[in-house]
């Protein structure tokens, strides 16, 4: 049981390049999330998904696209990377239910992305 995994762990891009970050979970969770972490700002929600084939915008969605074609995978895409997207990206998953079952998120190890 690997939990939540993220690929790649590190990446350096040039401005204007594109890339896709992959998140995979083996806990059969319905909900998945992408956050970014910047110094002094905590984690902020980029996009999230409440089930296969669904996606929704979070707090900071501009410049990113997402897809959830399979329940276990949640992809985050950068079509034209900008230096402002230099950050650490975290994926998380959770499952709907009562109390903590719904609201406890399990995080992946993060991806450090640098855009030059």
């Amino acid at each position: 049981n690997a939990g939540v995994t993220q690929t790649p762990k590190f990446r350096v891009l040039k401005t204007g390049q594109s890339m896709t970050l992959l998140c995979a979970q083996d806990m059969n969770h319905e909900y998945m999330y992408w956050y970014r972490q910047d110094p002094g700002m905590g984690l902020r929600l980029i996009h999230y998904s409440v089930g296969e084939g669904t996606t929704a915008k979070g707090e900071v969605p501009d410049g990113y696209n997402v897809s959830r074609l399979k329940k276990q995978n949640f992809l985050l895409g950068l079509e034209s990377a900008a230096p402002s997207q230099t950050s650490v990206y975290f994926c998380a998953s959770s499952t709907p239910g009562l109390g903590f079952v719904l609201n406890t998120q399990y995080f992946g190890p993060g991806t450090r992305l640098t855009v030059l």
Partner: protein, 114 residues
């Protein structure tokens, strides 16, 4: 929209002593959940403790406990018998009833000195 504020950017404590990290939040929701996550240098986000707003009893997990003051919208974390392995960034987080989305505070860097 909810906000979470951690007013202590950095804290330090001696090994075996007790330290309290502060967190305040603002929300209009009546039912919600509060969390403390630990992020060591490895960058992994680790759940430390959680609290349901409708429960008046403060949550405890071994050396970690919270002081939840609902009226004051305060949710502080107390770490007893601090250990070197407690050195990390600590995040306070809020979740309402909308698909479990989390709102995080800015984080507090805790350093435990031997």
């Amino acid at each position: 929209a909810q906000t979470v504020t951690q007013s202590q950017p950095e804290m330090s404590v001696q090994e075996a002593e007790t330290v309290t990290l502060s967190c305040t939040y603002d929300t209009s929701e009546s039912n919600y959940y509060l969390f403390w996550y630990k992020q060591p240098p490895s960058r992994q986000m680790i759940l430390v403790i959680r609290q349901e707003a409708y429960k008046q009893q403060n949550a405890t997990e071994n050396r970690f406990s919270v002081n939840f003051q609902k009226a004051a919208k305060s949710f502080s974390l107390k770490i007893s018998d601090s250990q070197l392995g407690d050195t990390a960034m600590y995040f306070c987080a809020f979740s309402g009833t909308s698909y479990g989305k989390l709102t995080f505070g800015q984080g507090t860097i805790l350093t435990v000195h031997p």
